[in-house]
Symmetry: C2
Subunit: 464 residues, 2 copies
């Protein structure tokens, strides 16, 4: 057994307990009611970085939630790994679908996780995956195995669009200078099929408000004669996708990268069982853009989803109201080359243009981020490949993901370094959903794999 | 000044105060949290009927909220007027749009109501209009002016579809026997244009649930590949009306009564200012079925309105969720001859049929009621006509209303008598909306007009 495997085995109960303690703090960045908890989590992360061996840690203020910074510089001539993660979490609702309270972590065995999984909001996304890096640092510093410099940048606004991360990076380019950025905020194919995420979708997240009459009306006296903003909103949303589920916003596909047949064929080789996919989600059929497979729809194609809708009477029973207003939160996943700001503008312009005269429409951009694709013929990717090969006994599969980490393309632009996305979560971890969890095996395997990346990266850099 | 005018003038402060006291009880039948308040309101109405001169009053239990019954029988050979009203009210939300709390009545002057209007949920619909009858009875009994028998049937479930009123009527036909049913739960054209409502629309109120995947998903990982129930619900709702705003449910129009050109021409003579209508509602345009005027759309044509919609994340900020479920409350206003049970079935069948395989759909019927048209060449209408002529100095205009009092057609069927709809509210009273109010002038004018109906009806019956 390698040293790291031994160390993880010896300390695993404490590693789990420390994560559980972190998960108990409801650091919901989207809801200002939890502000004190978000700040408390930042403090906890700073303390843990210091304990794990950072020489210097600090809470860096921003116009929003602070960024936790930490570093251990052992030799300025050695390369530097910058670890990025986030300590904020998604809102937990709908609460009634959680089998245990989202901020009271419990460890339960599941079919996929016979060693147990930690159930809590943020267990995987991203407290669990972020904390793997803290514990990997602990191993490296306590056992004199840290081969290079390391910096940590752990933010508290990832789940609300990283609004102030760009601001922070611009102002701290020297402090953040690095040779590679390492992030664990994605997943892998399965426990025995390790993978490295090489592509992410961008995101444009909008909110729309449709106003009909200036007050709620009686649907009997006005219904049929005055535009109902819910009916109009439904028509407008429906018109955003045609009968082939193509998005109808003019210009939307102009910059979409079309993969070659060869690339699509290679993608199709990834293990995927459509029947199992439908069964797990209990759906009668999949649903998406004509001409593309399910894996393609969920990774290389842009999408448009309504993430929330509300208007009128939504309580118990019935109310015959013709409401004044209706609202929706609508987000688009974007593929490389689509610019989220341009897409947000195209959406706004189109949505306003299709509103009938009988209503007024407001369109606001919540946030967004660019898509990202990393090449696999780089030293950075090679280092990740070697780390997985050593930890798992097999090479990882490069994989395009449908998710977004909006800040990744900004990293590359501002910090001039490549990003490696080493995710240890599984598709079934229910991130952003009730009953989010993270396998104990996955958590410990991440802690075991990360030092190997540091080792191989430093080695490859020295051979350059 | 007539006796009734004098009596109203002398007692108006007390009449207003008694109504204010009744309005303070939040008798929201749609929300079970207010059960005790609904029951308390029934008790208060019973007490007031007794005080006003009923010989006998009782709280009649039903499978739902009780019906308050009261009667004063002066001579079995004289005709009997049955007064129907309701003591329950609509839910007050959205609360933040109320200028004063909905259950803390205040009297404020408005442009239309220089004598003041009472602002509270239920001020007009229907506590205020129902209570006019209680005070009219008080006048008639205290001044020996009651010319015939009177019965009261005041229910507590009108705002949730009068689910148990049919049950009650079937079991109490003798008790409720009458010569005419008198209801004040509608409006009049304006303070100087009195009108009697001669038609009401029926109602079919449905609730739909669309289920996509069996749990909330991350919209990045699944978006584009798995049906989003909100997007699907929007498409389904949008498809219920075509580009001419005709309802697309097969069979929906089969029994719709088509008015003759002559009838439509007569309708078009009613005073109506489209520009003023748009201005009051602050809308850029009206919106409705092609080929019909605004007044027609709001009265003689059936409609389909979404009264409420919800699904996904509706809180502050953004959440990139592909939700498991989306819901809507959808109601259809029906015209005479359309059968609400048949229409509810047609809706259910159609809505289920248009659901794609990628989702599951549940359709439930909340409640409904038949439309109603009363002829104007009857003794009952003549009595109302004469009462208005005496009180207002001019004859009322017969008017078709878009609203529904689902129980009216049942009354005719079960109790074999005609219904007269004497409404004293105005379109601007904001019933079912925030800041519902009822003009003090309208309230007192109603109290003054009602005894005149009793007088003329008894007189005309004696001449039969």
């Amino acid at each position: 057994m390698s040293d790291i495997k031994k160390y993880v085995e010896e300390h695993k109960d404490r590693f789990i307990q420390e994560l559980v303690d972190l998960l108990k703090i409801p650091s919901i960045s989207a809801d200002s009611a939890y502000k004190q908890d978000v700040l408390k989590t930042a403090d906890a992360v700073k303390e843990k970085l210091q304990e794990a061996g950072c020489d210097h840690t600090e809470i860096c203020e921003t116009p929003g939630y602070p960024i936790v910074y930490g570093e251990k510089i052992i030799d300025k001539n050695l390369p530097t790994v910058l670890v990025y993660g986030h300590y904020d979490v998604q809102p937990p609702d709908p609460l009634d679908l959680w089998e245990s309270p989202p901020f009271e972590p419990v460890i339960k065995e599941t079919k996929l996780h016979p060693q147990g999984a930690i159930f809590a909001r943020g267990a995987c996304d991203d407290k669990g995956q972020m904390y793997m890096h803290v514990k990997a640092l602990e191993y490296m510093t306590r056992n004199n195995e840290l081969p290079c410099n390391v910096k940590f940048m752990i933010e508290g606004e990832e789940e609300v669009g990283s609004a102030n991360l760009g601001w922070f990076i611009e102002r701290n380019q020297d402090k953040l200078s690095n040779d590679v950025i390492l992030i664990s905020d994605t997943g892998m194919i399965s426990k025995d099929v390790p993978s490295v995420t090489t592509g992410l979708r961008g995101l444009s997240y909008m909110e729309v408000e449709v106003t009909g009459p200036n007050r709620d009306l009686h649907s009997g006296l006005y219904g049929g004669a005055v535009a109902n903003p819910i009916n109009i909103l439904a028509k407008m949303i429906a018109s955003l996708q045609d009968e082939n589920n193509h998005i109808t916003i003019p210009g939307f596909y102009d910059r979409v990268e079309e993969l070659t047949d060869e690339e699509r064929e290679k993608m199709a080789e990834a293990p995927f069982d459509l029947e199992e996919y439908k069964e797990k989600l209990d759906i009668g059929d999949v649903h998406g853009e004509k001409g593309y497979s399910t894996l393609e729809r969920a990774s290389i194609r842009p999408t448009l989803d309504v993430n929330g809708i509300w208007g009128g009477y939504t309580g118990e029973g019935a109310k015959t109201v013709l409401p004044s207003k209706a609202y929706a939160k609508i987000s688009m996943r974007l593929v490389p080359n689509q610019d989220w700001k341009e897409i947000s503008e195209l959406f706004k312009k189109h949505f306003e243009s299709i509103a009938p005269k009988s209503v007024k429409v407001k369109v606001n951009t919540h946030h967004g981020g660019q898509g990202y694709v990393t090449p696999i013929d780089t030293l950075e990717y090679q280092a990740a490949n070697d780390a997985y090969a050593e930890a798992f006994g097999k090479e990882p599969i490069p994989q395009r993901s449908g998710g977004s980490i909006p800040i990744v393309s900004l990293f590359e632009k501002e910090l001039k370094s490549k990003t490696i996305l080493m995710g240890f979560g599984l598709d079934t971890d229910a991130i952003h959903s009730p009953n989010e969890h993270f396998g104990v095996w996955n958590y410990l395997k991440g802690i075991e794999t990360i030092p190997l990346f540091f080792k191989h990266f430093t080695k490859l850099k020295s051979e350059e």
